[in-house]
Amino acid sequence: MNEQEQQLLLEIADDELILGWRDSEWTGVAPLLEEDVAFSSIAQNEIGHARALYELVARARGTTADELAFDRSPDEYRCAPLVELRLMDWAETIARHYLYEEADAKRLEQLKRSDDPEIAGLAAKIDREEAYHRIHAQMWFDRLQDEPRFVEALERLRPQAEALLDSARRGEHTAELADLWEEMTMVRRSQPAGTKW
């Protein structure tokens, strides 16, 4: 796996980790019990995808998935600002979910055609799980597509979604990422390096 491929996998892994974290914030407070369950499960899947992607990069670099996930400073993350936003509004959350799944499907299709069998194999596995996320996002899109609040959210977030497919538009972060990072890495930072969990 060359350096460019490692960078690309890190971008996607960071997107999935941070979005998974944000999705998990709906656990217990989503507007419907079914959505508590759905967003919790989607969050778990996204973080699982992040872990597997970090693992592939870690094998190439002689490090560990945990070190890649938690031992970088916030400005070293390569996630797109869209996934960092702390959205408290359901219409905005569904808009991001829909836009993210749409972009994610495109990049997974590309990765599935990679010459590197490890990348293509993992992308194919991730894509099978994401199929259920896409069905969920589409169901909500169909339900909300005539609601002005949802349509506005889609329009507002769409330019940021385009950055998901463009490495050149990554690197700048929102202030919300630093807060998330504080919380996400707090336990790990409180223990000596190398602690086994």
């Binding site: 369950v37 759905a38 778990q44 872990r51 597997a52 693992e55 194999g121």
Partner: protein, 162 residues
């Protein structure tokens, strides 16, 4: 010296951590076993990548091989080699008998669609009726959906097809 058959038998004794009625071998997560003198290498193909039971499975396999007096090496495959089609016929029957509807075959149609999930082609594991409906694509673990049987009025968990 340990034989490959002994290792398969030992792994077939390990229950799935979340659905203990079926074994790891029934679940299809063991893709290969290679015995080289005292070293035993297991190719482990995980179910869902976000499944919290993966580490438990990996460690249980390693412990079981150590108990045979061999040195384990569990190789985690991060590829597309696991599918619900790998669950054995025996495993599917054990799932059904404990109230989990086994997954539909993957088929040739590619990714699942909402129409398929909403169709009544899914059989209730309690009464066998196909008068069932989708309640939630997602359930208590990544591998399961929630359905409801209109015939026996029983909610049940349906294995997702992967």
């Amino acid at each position: 010296m340990v034989t490959e058959a002994q290792v398969w038998d030992a792994l077939a004794e390990i229950p799935d951590p979340e659905i203990p009625v079926i074994s790891l071998v029934d679940l299809g997560v063991v893709r290969g076993i290679d015995v080289d003198d005292r070293r035993v290498r297991v190719e482990f193909t995980p179910t869902f990548l976000g499944c919290p039971a993966l580490e438990v499975m990996r460690d249980a396999m390693a412990d079981s091989i150590r108990a045979l007096g061999a040195e384990p090496e569990i190789q985690v495959l991060l590829d597309d080699s696991w599918s619900t089609d790998r669950i054995t016929a025996e495993g599917r029957e054990k799932l059904r008998a404990s109230g989990f509807a086994p997954p539909s075959p993957r088929g040739d149609t590619g990714a699942p669609t909402l129409v398929q999930l909403q169709s009544n082609a899914h059989r209730c594991p309690y009464c066998g009726s196909t008068e069932t409906r989708l309640e939630n694509i997602f359930g208590p673990t990544p591998c399961r959906s929630l359905r409801y049987c209109a015939s026996c009025k029983q909610p049940f968990e349906q294995f997702k097809t992967i």
